[in-house]
């Protein structure tokens, strides 16, 4: 049985990305609740500090990977026509990659 059809790789990606996403989301929500960045300067400065910039970039990479595994599972479960399923997965994959690149631009290109 091929490694891909065992699903272990996808399962690990989903679980590890989930752990990072959980920590980041909680950290982010608590930070906002405590510091309440009320103006552009404070917000921009916080997001653009190297540590936050990198942590947020990792967040979007983890998010793309996690979302891909999840939505792929949903499509495989409910879309039984091979042509439609493959087409849909291709579009969703491209969309997630586009979103990742967009997030990269937002965080790294001034």
């Amino acid at each position: 049985m091929s490694a891909g059809s065992r699903g272990l790789g996808a399962w690990l990606v989903q679980r590890f990305s989930a752990v990072y996403l959980a920590f980041f989301v909680v950290y982010f929500a608590v930070s906002i609740a405590i510091c309440k960045p009320g103006d552009f300067e404070t917000w921009h400065h916080w997001i653009m500090t190297p540590a936050m910039n990198i942590a947020m970039s990792l967040f979007f990479i983890a998010l793309a990977a996690h979302a891909w595994v999840g939505v792929r599972d949903v499509v495989i479960d409910y879309v039984h026509s091979t042509a439609l399923r493959v087409g849909l997965l291709a579009i969703i994959g491209a969309a997630l990659l586009a979103c990742l690149l967009w997030a990269g631009r937002v965080l790294w290109v001034s």
Partner: protein, 126 residues
């Protein structure tokens, strides 16, 4: 069972018995799909907020509107439920709380907590 005789099928969703874990699980899937559609919105908001003071102010103004606030309640539910149900699944992966009673209790706790937290958030917007 094979292609010529596929065996019995009972797919009447309104009559299949749904234990609490089933509710938690399908809500976890539903919330995941919702969040997926929210990804481009999230990035768009981040983009707008970082462009300049005008973008930042525009977002503040948007979140004064009742439609956006209502939408944010749905998104918060999706995020909180997906996160809590996800943590439950991770713990189950580690075989923590895997007994039937424990699993049912944690499923109920997750589902109810997500709704309660969402309500608290909703009320904070009023």
């Amino acid at each position: 069972m094979n292609k010529t005789n596929p065996g019995p099928r009972y797919l009447d969703l309104l009559r299949i018995k749904m234990p609490v874990g089933a509710v938690t699980s399908i809500a976890h899937r539903l919330s995941g799909v919702l969040l997926f559609f929210g990804i481009p919105v999230l990035i768009w908001l981040l983009d707008l907020s970082l462009r300049g003071p005008e973008g930042f102010a525009r977002i503040q103004a948007m979140f004064d509107g009742s439609l956006v606030r209502l939408g944010s309640v749905l998104v918060i539910w999706a995020l909180v439920h997906h996160l809590l149900a996800g943590i439950r699944f991770l713990l189950l992966d580690l075989h923590l709380g895997i007994g039937l009673q424990a699993a049912r209790a944690s499923a109920l706790a997750v589902t109810v907590s997500a709704i309660v937290i969402t309500l608290v958030y909703g009320v904070s917007l009023l």
